[in-house]
């Protein structure tokens, strides 16, 4: 059901990563929509591996940043150093100057450095010593974070979480998947053997095509209703912003695109809803106390909200 190029990427990645087809597809969705991904899960479930495989399969320039508490913004953007030979300041690019950036354990660094990264993600450029440096294209950040309850973390502020198009949870592999994992890594390193299946130019082309995916007024209504629902629900303390609405549409377009369709279905919106809204909705203390989770609430809305079937706009 995937677009053939997309299918080939997924197949390639799956030679290394066991299971996780949905995670791969969603990551691709974010890449093609021009957004960024926040991977959240406990250490060791393969977040880093996924990103590395991703960059390998797509033949993009891969950079990895391991965030630590003492990291400074300039460690990301790069610095201008004085070259004594040429007697000039010379720009030394930082790790942000790549196509796919793995921002590992983003919640371990200070808010200052975090915001530098997030600014770069939004603006697709950095300013070093007053000079504007445009980041390469495509620019795709996959940040990982350990669940915020863990020791020694700086939780990302809501405003910054909003900049990630999708938040994806990896989850543990199933029993059989884990067995397969063991066999695969028993003798060799499959990542080394992975050949890229798609070029950077092709990715840029696909990104442009995603924007042409048609969104009907019925689907737009569905998106807006869903986001409105997140604002109205008494369990939420903060609902989705208009940026969330936009993000949901882009993600749905991209999801429709990778599923080889040139128009968005309500199904696409549904598929993306949890990943787009999950990190943008804050629950009230009461709802948290009751044991509700954002994903659960979103699922509830999806289960009750009627799917619009005509073009006329009806405010509910």
């Amino acid at each position: 059901m995937y677009r053939p190029t997309v299918q080939s990427i997924i197949t390639a990645i799956e030679t290394v990563i066991v299971g996780k087809e949905e995670v791969i597809a969603k990551s691709l969705t974010a890449l093609l929509a021009g957004g960024h991904v926040l991977l959240e899960d406990v250490p060791g479930v393969g977040k880093t591996m996924l990103v590395r495989t991703f960059s390998r399969a797509i033949d993009l320039d891969f950079k990895r940043i391991q965030f630590t508490p003492d990291m400074l913004p300039s460690d990301l953007t790069g610095i201008s150093m004085y070259n004594q030979k040429t007697r000039e300041f010379e720009y030394r690019p930082g790790p942000l100057m790549g196509n796919i950036i793995l921002a590992d354990e983003i919640n371990r660094t200070s808010p200052k450095t975090q915001s530098a990264l997030l600014e770069a993600m939004a603006e697709r450029s950095v300013t070093v010593d007053g000079e504007l440096k445009v980041l390469p294209s495509p620019f795709f950040v996959m940040a990982t974070q350990n669940p915020i309850e863990h020791e020694g973390t700086y939780p990302l502020p809501e405003a910054q979480l909003d900049r990630f198009l999708l938040k994806i949870e990896m989850g543990y592999p199933t029993f059989n998947e884990e067995i397969a994992l063991l066999s695969r890594f028993e003798k060799e390193e499959p990542l080394e053997a992975l050949q890229s299946v798609i070029t950077k130019q092709e990715v840029e082309l696909m990104q442009r095509e995603v924007r042409d995916v048609h969104v009907s007024s019925a689907v737009k209504q569905y998106i807006v209703r869903l986001v409105h629902e997140s604002r109205k629900d008494p369990h939420t303390y903060l609902g989705g912003s208009p940026r969330a609405t936009l993000a949901l549409m882009k993600a749905a377009q991209s999801w429709a695109y990778i599923h080889n369709r040139d128009f968005v279905l309500p199904d696409d919106v549904k598929a993306m809803a949890t990943s787009v809204l999950g990190h943008r909705v804050l629950l009230t203390a009461e709802a948290r106390y009751k044991g509700k989770s954002p994903n659960q609430l979103i699922q509830d809305w999806l289960d009750t909200l009627p799917v619009p079937m005509d073009r006329e706009v009806n405010e509910v």
Partner: protein, 699 residues
């Protein structure tokens, strides 16, 4: 429709349904008026639209006003009520006062129900079921005849359901109006197709606006029925199904009203006062065996006569319990006097000379023995004067009539043999029964002569008058009798036979005199049998007891196209009750119609669907239509238990296809998505899949 208009119409329909209760319920009590109950039941219902205080106030005021208007004094009534109450407490049946207040309470109860539950399907359905139930019950078990009213009640029920629907879901969809129209027309069409009904419509009109007493009065076709004036017989008449009375507790029987003795050449006139035993209180000789019989007659409306089934009645008991006995012929009662006129006609001497609606009759039914019929003795029981009257023939009677009379009876000796010869003569094949193409004598033409020699087409009056004249010409005292035939058999109700006697059952026959036997009835009209008219102990002579069945000509007559219904009666009675039932089975007919209507009402979605279906299928597929069709499909799916909310079309399609083991829903959904979400031109293949899916879902 405006809300308050809907409400008023709803209340009015419910009130109209409730008003159907009054006639049967009050009819089975001693009340002779129904109007107070209409006020008691209907006024509170309308008042229920108002607030509580106004409702209670108006209902109470209404009760007091009706009570005052009906009874005259309110205080007096409370005294009666207390008396009644004491009676009821000591185990007696409730009397009028209690019944009155009970009806008022019923009215109040229904008013509260209609007012507080508005609008409610349960109330409407309860109302409909109980009304139709009550009508069906009283129609079946009592003298109440609900035939026409049941149709009105059903139509009202449908309208009530429709108005409830309107009030509940105030959308103005055309489909609803079309479907109610369709339903109503189906009901009316079914009702019109039912054989009894057409008669009933006309009967309601004719009995209300027209007095059915003319029988060929010369000004166009007359209408069949019992009439007083027989001076000018002849001419065609129309059938009339109007009910005259219902007889209960007796077998099928001719109903005698009176006899006439003077033939004028054009018709019959009243006999002068005659005084022998045979004209007052006695029809047959005291030697003749008789069987006592008792009949309950219930008249549709009051009539100026009392029909009786055999001998002159020995006693008549009226509703108020007063009893009339033959013997003290004119006996005064508090309100009424009963007279037997010389013609044998019994009349209640009240203002309109009309018989009470319900009477109980006691009379005896004679059964002549063969020996008695064979008697040929000189007449001594009748006075000279009487004999002259009963042998009277007009001077103008053509000689060929007398000659024919002599020819017919040439080989007969006794009066009975002669009567049989005359009866047989009419069955010789030359005479034809008809009610339409019947001539009326003009100028000097004699009525009997014209029939016997010219036209030979006619109905009972022609046959009976001619028979009377032929017998008189043979020297047998004869008189012309009027009454009704046995009517339609309603069936056996609580162990007692019931017969409906209608206007079209009006009939005339002949009585001839045999010394030692008395007045013997003779059925001269062809294809009518005297088996029921004349009870004789004639085991050997079977041929005569069923002449109609054995006579080929009579049977042939029965098969002709313009056979009047009157003609059928004897066949129905003698050949079995099945045919009778087919023509006169209102209760079962209505049950079937009711059932069909119920099926239609419960399946009105299907009707709605069919209408939409035809509409959608015949029109080009547009965006809007596609969305409507899909919505309808969703509605049907929801009705079939599928969850629609929160499902995308394709999710639903998977589930539906899994359930029905097809992939049509997926195909249909793909086309739907193309149209709605890709916003492309709708593909007309959608209609095909839609049709398939609707059929699958509805089957």
């Amino acid at each position: 429709m405006k809300t308050w208009v809907t409400r008023i119409v709803y209340t009015a329909l419910a009130a109209y349904l409730l008003s159907f209760w009054i006639e049967p319920i009050v009819g089975s009590t001693t009340f002779d008026v129904t109007w107070p109950f209409y006020f008691l039941l209907i006024v509170p219902m309308f008042a229920s639209i108002l607030p509580w205080a106004a409702f209670l106030g108006i209902s109470l005021l209404n009760f007091l006003i009706v009570l005052y208007a009906y009874h005259g004094s309110i205080l007096d009534w409370f005294g009666l009520w207390m008396e009644d109450l004491m009676g009821v407490m000591s185990g007696e049946l409730p009397n009028e006062a209690i019944f009155f207040s009970a009806m008022a309470l019923i009215g109040l109860l229904f008013a509260v129900l209609v007012g507080r539950t508005y609008p409610s399907y349960s109330f409407a359905l309860g109302m409909i079921v109980s009304t139709l139930g009550i009508m069906a019950y009283f129609d079946t078990w009592t003298l109440y005849d609900g035939e026409g009213n049941i149709l009105y009640a059903i139509v009202t029920s449908l309208l009530l359901l429709f108005v409830t629907d309107l009030a509940k879901r105030p959308s103005q969809s055309l489909v609803r109006f079309v479907s109610i129209g369709l339903l109503l027309s189906v009901v009316v069409a079914l009702a019109s197709a039912s054989p009894t009904l057409e008669g009933d419509w006309s009967d309601r009109i004719t009995t209300s606006f027209r007095n059915a007493t003319t029988e060929g009065d010369g000004s166009g076709p007359g209408r069949v029925g019992y009439g007083v004036n027989d001076e000018s017989l002849g001419g065609p008449f129309e059938q009339d199904d109007g009910i005259v009375f219902i007889a209960r507790g007796v077998p099928a029987r001719y109903w005698r009203i009176e006899s006439k003795a003077i033939y004028t050449g054009k018709g019959w006139v009243e006999s002068p006062v005659l005084d022998s035993n045979y004209n007052r209180g006695q029809l047959v000789d005291s030697e003749v065996d008789t069987t006592p019989e008792q009949a309950l007659l219930r008249f549709e409306r009051r009539q100026p006569f009392v029909p009786y089934g055999g001998e002159y009645p020995q006693a008549i008991e009226t509703e108020s319990g007063t009893e009339f006995r033959v013997g003290d012929i004119e006996r005064a009662f508090p309100n009424e006097t009963i007279t037997m006129q010389p013609s044998g006609k019994i009349v209640f001497e009240n203002e309109e000379q009309s018989t009470p609606r319900t009477i109980q009759l006691r009379y005896s039914v004679p059964a002549f023995s063969e020996e008695q019929l064979a008697l040929n003795e000189e007449i001594t029981s009748l006075t000279e004067e009487e004999q002259q009257v009963y042998l009277q023939l007009p001077e103008s009677l053509p000689e060929r009539v007398r000659d024919l009379a002599a020819d017919i009876t040439a080989e007969s000796e006794t009066p009975n043999e002669k009567a049989e010869a005359v009866e047989a003569y009419f069955r010789n094949g030359e005479f034809q029964y008809d009610t339409e193409n019947v001539a009326q004598p003009e100028g000097d033409t004699d009525y009997v002569d014209q029939f016997l020699f010219d036209t030979q087409i006619g109905y009972c009056d022609n046959f009976s008058t001619s028979a009377a004249v032929l017998l008189r010409a043979n020297g047998i005292p004869t008189r012309w009798v009027k009454g009704f035939t046995m009517g339609d058999t309603r069936g056996v109700i609580q162990g007692e036979e019931e017969h409906t006697i209608r206007n079209r059952h009006a009939h005339s026959w002949v009585e001839y005199f045999i010394e030692g036997a008395g007045w013997v009835p003779l059925e001269a009209t062809i294809s009518f049998s005297d088996a029921n008219l004349l009870q004789m102990e004639r085991e050997t002579d079977t041929e005569d007891t069923t002449p109609a069945a054995n006579d080929p000509q009579a049977n042939q007559d029965n098969d002709t196209q313009n056979r009047p219904q009157e003609d059928l009666l004897i066949d129905d009675v003698t050949t079995g009750d099945v045919q009778e039932e087919a023509r006169n089975m209102p209760v079962w007919g209505w049950v079937v119609i009711l059932f069909l209507v119920a099926v239609l009402v419960w399946n009105r979605k299907i009707i709605e669907r069919q209408i939409m279906y035809v509409w959608w299928m015949s029109r080009p597929l547009t965006d809007g239509r596609l969305v409507s069709m899909h919505r309808y499909l969703m509605k049907r799916l929801r009705a079939n238990g599928f969850k629609i909310e929160g499902r995308t079309p394709s999710e639903l399609a998977k589930e539906v296809d899994a359930y029905y083991e097809t992939n049509d829903m997926t195909r249909l959904t793909a086309l739907f998505e193309q149209a709605v979400y890709a916003e492309q031109e709708p593909n007309s293949k959608y209609k095909e899949y839609w049709k398939i899916m609707i059929h699958r879902i509805m089957s």
